[in-house]
Amino acid sequence: MEKMNDKLQKTAKELLENKEVNLIIGFTKGSNPLRMRSVFITDPDDVSKLSFNAHCVQDLAVFLKKPEVKKFGKVGLIVKGCDEKAVNTLIQEYQLSRDNIKIIGVECRGVVKQNLADKGEDSVKQSTVYDKCLVCEVHTPLLYDYLVESDEPAFEINGDIKPYAKIEELDAMSVEDRNMFWQKEFEKCIKCYACRQACPLCYCTRCIVEKNTPQWIETNIEETGNAQWNMIRAYHLSGRCIGCGECERACPVNIPLMLVNEKMARDVFEKFGYKSGVDINAKPVFGTFDANDFNEFIK
């Protein structure tokens, strides 16, 4: 890890000193040693704060939508492969100019689930990492200006792994049972919108839930409105969600939002062969069409 941190710090220092960026967003050690938090560095002398390890869970791309960050102009972002896809999507959707970002990609071997880390878990293995790490195809980010290689070995995957196993279970259920499942989950929703705030791609300055002419989503806390919010959030992220899992991690009542996001991502890939956040020059799947698209459900 020390070698990684050295390279991170060196890269960040150079970028700041050469004025190639005005701000570096990265990770630093939190008060709890097994928790890493975000850090914003503008002074080259502060780069020693930067650090990376298997507890760097947060998708720092979320900060790119903030006006406080935008005002810095050129920004350097330390980012894992999964989260970097958010950067690509932001570029695709004109929220970010490629010229305004220096991507300091880190090779990631997987991050430890935070609830386990909080209990002292410090090892990266099949049973301790997030589901997304088990299916990760981007240990090395797809797009970067600088790459910081990992000096850790990849964890071993044994047996038949089934990340997001509940998706298949839900698919196999009757529609009534699925309804029961989600009704129970959405009942818990307190409409705090933490899922939205944590999402790097929920960048609208006025969210649809805040529009009241007409009122698209009932904002009082009752079942229909809760379900509607969660449904529309997932719908708006279909074909866009890059699977960082931040919404689920932010949810104070533990609604398994990734089960919806991942399902939709699989669905979009199956129907349209599209994976989000892969190519900054690709047309977003719902910004284009093909005359031979899936037509089976139409009479």
């Binding site: 529609v175 919806v260 939709m264 719902f286 009479k299």
Partner: protein, 165 residues
Amino acid sequence: MENNIVEDVQNARDEKEYSAGSAKGEDKDKEPRIIAFVCNWCTYNGADLAGTSRMKYAENVRVIKLPCTGRIDPLFVVEAFKKGAKGVLVSGCHPGDCHYTSGNYHSRRKYTAFRDLLSYLGVDINRVEFSWISASEGNKWVSVINEFTNKIKLLPDNSDIFSKK
């Protein structure tokens, strides 16, 4: 058009009483309500043709006309469910026939994902129908409406997350 406050209050009261009144008279075993969102150029004309040809079909459907299927937001479907519609039909021009060249293609993509999402969240996808009906297919309009109405009538009572309780 300045209103005085007395008038405003009276208007508000009228609205409230009126909606309360119309809701009260509803019978439990009333016919299921179906809302059809249709495009102006193909399906609306197809429905008109069914009329000029004096074809007969089920009365349950209420048509909302929009310029194009591209304008028919999937979230309208959710809104219709919330307001008590038991079935929703979306219908427009056949692929290649869109008056606006590609509205139906864009719509088809969106509905593909939307339907999967709805179903995954526990909504009986039989409640949403999608069809291509051209201006010359009055007979298709009739059969789509009749078949859909029959299907909706056979569905169990709504219990999914968007249904009005």
